[in-house]
């Protein structure tokens, strides 16, 4: 076994183990932290494939931004674990049986004999072009060959923004909010009224 494959197997085991923990562990905060571990080990596997840019982006975007946000949300809302876990044991036997069957079938179909490096179609494995940095190569591909899927992905993000705003933004008539423009425009006479009153005689 070469050093490279040893590293690969190490990170694969960590990835699979932490992914399993994400699903099975009781505490949602710990589960989110295991998801972080899964992302980091996936990034390491990408490193092995010489996809440095993707690996860094995975860590920066998912671990750095998405998961931190996710952790905040998990910590802020009160997740009722008892309700969430209700019925979990009920479906465990049948679900577990189906899962075991599927894993066995997949293992049979995509075992080492089927997916040996010699069996994989040669076209799938391009030799990386020399003297072109990872980022540059990705950028070139994204804006030439894959420009159409890239644009559709942008459209999907736009739809996500529209949907998020349409589903959450509401203007309630009873909320009291400040309007700074009107606060600045206000004049003394709008707020203050001088009332002339006759002096009262001393009694």
């Amino acid at each position: 076994m070469t050093f490279e494959s040893a590293v690969f197997y190490f990170f694969s085991v960590v990835l699979l183990g932490s992914a399993a923990m994400v699903v099975t562990i009781r505490n949602p905060v710990k589960s989110a932290l295991f998801l972080v571990l899964a992302f980091v080990s996936a990034a390491c596997i990408w490193m092995l494939l010489k996809a440095e840019f993707l690996a860094i982006v995975l860590v920066l975007v998912y671990v750095g931004a998405v998961m931190v946000l996710f952790l905040f949300v998990v910590m802020m809302i009160d997740v009722n674990l008892a309700v969430l876990r209700q019925g979990f044991g009920e479906y465990l036997p049948i679900g577990g049986l189906v899962a075991v069957l599927m894993v066995m079938e997949i293992a049979l179909a995509v075992g080492p004999r089927q997916l040996a490096p010699t069996r994989i179609a040669a076209a799938a494995v391009h030799a990386p072009a020399a003297h072109v940095s990872n980022t540059r190569a990705l950028g070139l591909l994204l804006y030439t060959t894959y420009v159409y899927p890239f644009e559709i992905a942008a459209a999907i993000l736009l739809v996500a923004i529209i949907a998020a705003i349409a589903l959450t933004m509401r203007r309630r008539p009873d909320t009291k909010y400040q309007d700074p423009a009107r606060q600045v425009e206000v004049q003394a006479r709008d707020r203050m009224r001088l009332v002339k009153m006759p002096a009262e005689p001393k009694t």
Binding site: E105, I106, A122, A155, L158, V159, I162, I165, L167, R170
Partner: protein, 477 residues
Amino acid sequence: MMHIRPVLPEIVVFSMACVILLADLFWKRRFKGLMYGLTQATLIAAAIIAYSLRNEAPRVVLHGMVIGDRLSIVLQIAIFMLTAIVLAYSRTYIAERGVFRSEYFVLALTGVVGMCVMVSAAHFLSLYLGLELLSLSLYALIALQRDSIAATEAAMKYFVLGALSSGLLLYGLSMLYGATGSLSISRVATALAALPRHDMVATLGLVFVLSGLAFKLGAVPFHMWVPDVYEGAPTAVTLYVGAAPKVAAFALFLRLLVEGLHGLSGAWQEMLVLLAFLSMAIGNVVAIAQTNLKRMLAYSAIAHMGFLLLGLLSARTSGYADALFYALVYAFMTLGAFGVIILLSRKGFEAERLEDLRGLYQRSPWYAWVMLLIMFSMAGVPPTIGFYAKFAVIQAAVSAGFYGLAVAAVLFSVIGAFYYLRIVKLMFFDAPVDSSPLRQGRDLRWILSANGIAMVLAAPWAGTLIAICRAAVRGLP
């Protein structure tokens, strides 16, 4: 400019969606119906553009991502027409329920873009992204009526199960990539031809791809979401979900299974036989037990998807044409059926139980006849176009040698006739429970009437329509 001509309809629709989004900012107060008018104009313009491309030679553009052929043009025009009718039906409905907002129209348009991308995909990547664009728009549309708990629940269920099925589809596509070394549909087809007959990796990929596709179509055993989503979503959105996306999902079958995986046709034929049989059986039998009209139509949709697969599993070009014809006819039938539900509904009242149809003949004879035509067409009673569609797909199954399945299809359509005729009985022979007059817009009344009459009047032209479908699928292997 020449090489983006096949994607012109998509570009127009998406640009107009952005324009509507911006116009809403400035002119919402001043012009009330502006967004609706702009949306309809966009759909009509896009249909005209797609029609003007009909005589161009089929070609693959944008680095092998998009194919512009007769099939994509026919399907795109159908999607534009279906969506335009859906929006015309739902205009009053959504206005009465407070979702007559520009977001509704923008999401409807982006869903249309997603469907157009799906039907003209020549690459796994564009196909998947189109599917996601459609699904995301659908989830948001269903949940748009925020105060309705049922709608939120339906959207949540659809979202979770939809994500799962997308995962299945992606896993299958990755297996196919491993086996063939390409994501381009035409290159996958050539690489598969060179592989041994029962290549394990490719077959595993096929299983997952087919599960994902069957989910999107709503075929048994991947149908669990259909009744809940149909029932929970506002009727206007159910109409949208039930019509054009079914046509687009059917197009995915043609693009992936027929164009890409034709080398594995022996394997997918067997799987489709199972899906078709189960869909027809469970759809038709469970629909009998429903008391909710929308739920009943959902099970009827599942059964119809089974019939649709009959044409596909023949694995012949004529069968694909019959299945395409069935998909289009079904989409227009389902529009009519949900159109009647919208017609009977009013502010604060949803006509979604079977009892609400009771005595419709006494309240409005004309719409009782319209509904009768639509129900006859769905059941496949001879003078209607639904009969020709059913006949064509059953004939396709017979000519491919699936005699047992064809007999089963006839039996199940007889069982299915029961619940369609029960509606006719309720409308004509029972006394009305609710006798308030029907108050809906004139556009809904006219289009719904045309929709119902078309079920009979289009029948003499069934041959022409099938010929159009034949021409559309001619390029398929």
